[in-house]
Amino acid sequence: MNHPIIKLVAQRIALGILLLLAVSILIFAGTQLLPGDVAQAILGQSATEQSLANLREKLGLNDPAYIRYFSWLGGILQGDLGTALTNGQDIATSLGRRFGNTIFLAFWAAVIAVPLSITLGLIAARYAGRWPDKVISGVTLATISLPEFVVGYLVMFILAVKFRVFPSTALVFDGMGLFERLNAVALPIIVLVLVVLAHMMRMTRAAILNVMQSAYIETAELKGLSPSTIIRKHAFPNAIAPVVNVVMLNLAYLVVGVVVVEVVFVYPGMGQYLVDHVAKRDIPVVQACGLIFAAVYIGLNILADVISILANPRLRHPK
């Protein structure tokens, strides 16, 4: 196996882990800076001095910050995220189900959006400047320009209230069949696809058109290849790196940035869970959510880097 590639990939992963550690310090420090005492926030107005002191003792709030950081980190490495302060439930359990829901929604949105946007981007590049390009660009730019909740309300009004094709609230629960589940989340999937489509499609189009300026494309044209074959065989493989980067950014967005869509469709994902607990100053949950979001983001970016490296012939075939 090629030595430089393994080294590069290992470097990326190591960097990612370091980055994640740095983020964990930031998250911990940030939650310490939130105004208000955690014990006071939990006990509320009726708190007495004695009960505050008891709770601080129980939560270990009297220890110095760095000790609390390492015990928190140690817990996480063993899969123990602690218990929520507000309702006393195990965070890993409730968060796990929420995270599963978020991933489910993101996965199906991605399954539709990624091939669709790349195909549309290829078509737009093939007919650059002509009507298919203009229609595709116009429609996708329109859907990305509307705020998500407006798109959400629009599809809800048309598909749920007017024609009653899909349910307006995306309720999912254990024991639902896959088809039932997909039917329930159809509207949020449609909205997410519409929102992420334009970015990936424009990037594909731009990357392909960029490559089309190269000398080897001209050679291919002079050989008499058809435009579609040129794009498929020569342009697209060389445009993968930038496209993969944008795809990964959008996948990360599908996981960490969909709280508005979750609220509109009452989808029990992680975004809503995080927002509720921030409002109640439930620090352990906020820290756990923050870390998971960061891990997803960093992980997907590492993946994008690795794919770009692998897709680069100069790295694949070192001299």
């Binding site: 006393g88 629960f173 869970y273």
Partner: protein, 528 residues
């Protein structure tokens, strides 16, 4: 009963015309309000409930931080959820009377200091255990413990001692309280097996429905409790509460038939929703109110002339029309309205009067610097717009108000009860004593107008022990006058509870105690 009235009655019961319309027409036909009300109640009860089915509600006011521990209930969804699985000693019915639940009867010593409740026999918890007097005492005791963080702590603190004796519970109070049964109707005081000490959030009670699914902030599912003692409650086989905090999504869920009822309809869209033939709007005037509060101890509000000037400078009717979309009633600068027992309806309504406002403003000798009014969307829905309307009407009286918009986050800790003049709201309480004791007694923790008046305090404590209702009503009337003319409370409006139901829902009746039929709509309604 004449034909017109009978026709109207039928239409009202089937939900085609509003109760308000019926009452108005009945009055025009010479029927007194009391008679009309009881006619309506009888006619509604005469509808035969359909048993079975699956009833769903879409509700605002649930978070993923919610717990089933009734001591911690603070928002709408936990309130309704607890009403499904739990039951209190007594409840307050739509007419303001005591409705016996776990307790079968009650009595008090002549000085209203000792209360005895007889526990209904044969009531079973969902775990099969029989509900005993000991469970009642244990429940109330748990809420007196500060570590339980109970929202009913202020209520049970008045209890000196309790004892269970066979099927009766005897409660001794520190000071006499004629309203004590209303206090134990508080929604935190759901009777739990063993008081819920071992596992407060088990969701085991004696209510009409048993907890099946409990996903905080998402949905709560229940199935019928087959051993429930009261056949008038709990018609559907299964009920479900879906948390839909987004206003538009909630309405869409009702319109698309995904849920059968929703709470908290935004007044702005009521008129639009009325055009949908499949949906009925259900509004009832309650005790909740929106307020502007001044600290009577802080300059410049320590001057009663300035307070009076600001009270005359607000246009109450305009606020009801524009902020509540007409779904509410005008306030009169004291926190009591006709929804309370012993309300004195002869107290003169304060009107918008720029001349009187200007007169008092001049008499106050205020230096003319702008008076800062703090507001935020969190204070109440439409609080920012209400403050702007207030600024305009005050300007007409020559009073310079400066509206300062504060962030929603931290409004209740940094602005309310801290800054001397701000917007706020109150949910109301079942009885006058509780409302006044919570927020207007000199020593009350939530005395958010910093109102200190010895005469008022003495009247409040005397009224609490007064069992003669005529005398008591007069005392409350005197207190209302004091607060109205000297207090720091500007009360422009009482907000209606506005819910909406699908056309296939029957059995709905108005309850001014709270939204969604005081949290029991799912248990009391049925699907046609």
């Amino acid at each position: 009963m004449n034909d017109e009235l009978r026709y109207l009655l039928n239409r009202t019961v089937s939900g085609k015309v509003s109760r308000r319309h019926f009452m108005g027409r009945a009055a025009a036909l010479g029927v007194t309000a009391g008679v009309a009300n009881s006619m309506l109640a009888t006619a509604t009860a005469a509808q035969t409930p359909v048993k079975g089915g699956f009833l769903r509600a879409g509700m605002q006011g649930g978070e993923s931080t919610n717990s089933l521990d009734p001591a911690l209930a603070a928002s709408e969804v936990p309130f309704t959820v607890n009403n499904m699985w739990g039951e209190t000693l007594v409840n307050v019915d739509a007419g303001g009377n005591i409705d016996f639940r776990v307790a079968q009867e009650m009595s008090s010593s002549p000085d209203a200091k000792t209360w005895t409740f007889k526990i209904r026999s044969g009531v079973e918890f969902h775990n099969g255990a029989t509900l005993t007097a000991e469970d009642v005492v244990a429940t109330l005791t748990r809420h007196t413990d500060e570590n339980s963080q109970s929202g009913a702590l202020g209520i049970v603190q008045g209890i000196e001692s309790m004892s269970a004796n066979g099927d009766t519970v005897t409660i001794d109070l520190h000071t006499p309280n004629a309203d004590f049964p209303y206090l134990v109707a508080d929604y935190h005081l759901m009777i739990q097996p063993g008081g819920g000490v071992d596992n407060p959030s088990a969701g085991i009670g004696s209510g009409a429905y048993m907890v099946e699914v409990n996903e905080a902030g998402v949905r709560h599912g229940f199935k019928k409790n087959p051993n429930y003692w009261d056949s008038n409650i709990g018609h559907a086989d299964e009920v479900e509460i879906i948390v839909i905090n987004d206003n538009t999504a909630r309405v869409a869920a009702l319109q698309s038939g995904q849920v059968n009822m929703i709470n908290r309809l935004d007044p702005k869209i009521i008129d639009l929703l009325k055009r949908d033939p499949n949906v009925q709007i259900k509004n009832v005037s309650g005790r909740g109110h929106y307020v502007f509060i001044m600290h009577c101890t802080a300059a410049p509000f320590d001057n009663n002339d300035l307070r009076m000037a600001l009270k005359y400078a607000i246009n109450r009717q305009e606020m009801v029309d524009k902020v509540l979309g007409g779904y509410g009633g005008v306030g009169n600068d004291f926190p009591i309205n006709a929804a309370y027992p012993l309300f004195d309806d002869t107290i003169e309504q304060r009107e918008f009067d720029p001349d009187k406002a200007a007169f008092h403003y001049k008499a106050s000798g205020h230096d003319g610097s702008p008076i800062v009014l703090r507001t935020a969307g969190a204070a109440f829905p439409g609080a920012v717009e209400a403050a702007q309307l207030y600024q305009q009407s005050a300007a007409a009286a020559g009073i310079p108000l400066e509206v300062k918009r504060e962030p929603d986050d931290g409004y209740w800790s940094d602005v309310w009860n801290v800054q001397p003049f701000c917007a706020s709201y109150w949910g109301g309480r079942p009885v006058q004593d509780q409302m006044y004791s919570t927020a207007y007694l000199s020593t009350a923790e939530w005395n958010d107008t910093k109102f200190h008046n010895d005469q008022f305090d003495n009247l409040l404590l005397a009224a609490r022990a007064e069992l003669d209702l005529t005398v008591r009503k007069q005392m409350y009337s005197d207190m209302a006058h004091i607060l109205r003319d000297e207090g720091g409370l500007i009360l422009p409006m009482f907000n209606d509870f506005v819910d909406a139901i699908g056309n296939n829902v029957q059995g709905w009746s108005e309850d001014p105690n709270g939204e969604m039929m005081n949290g029991l709509a799912l248990a009391k309604c049925w699907l046609a």
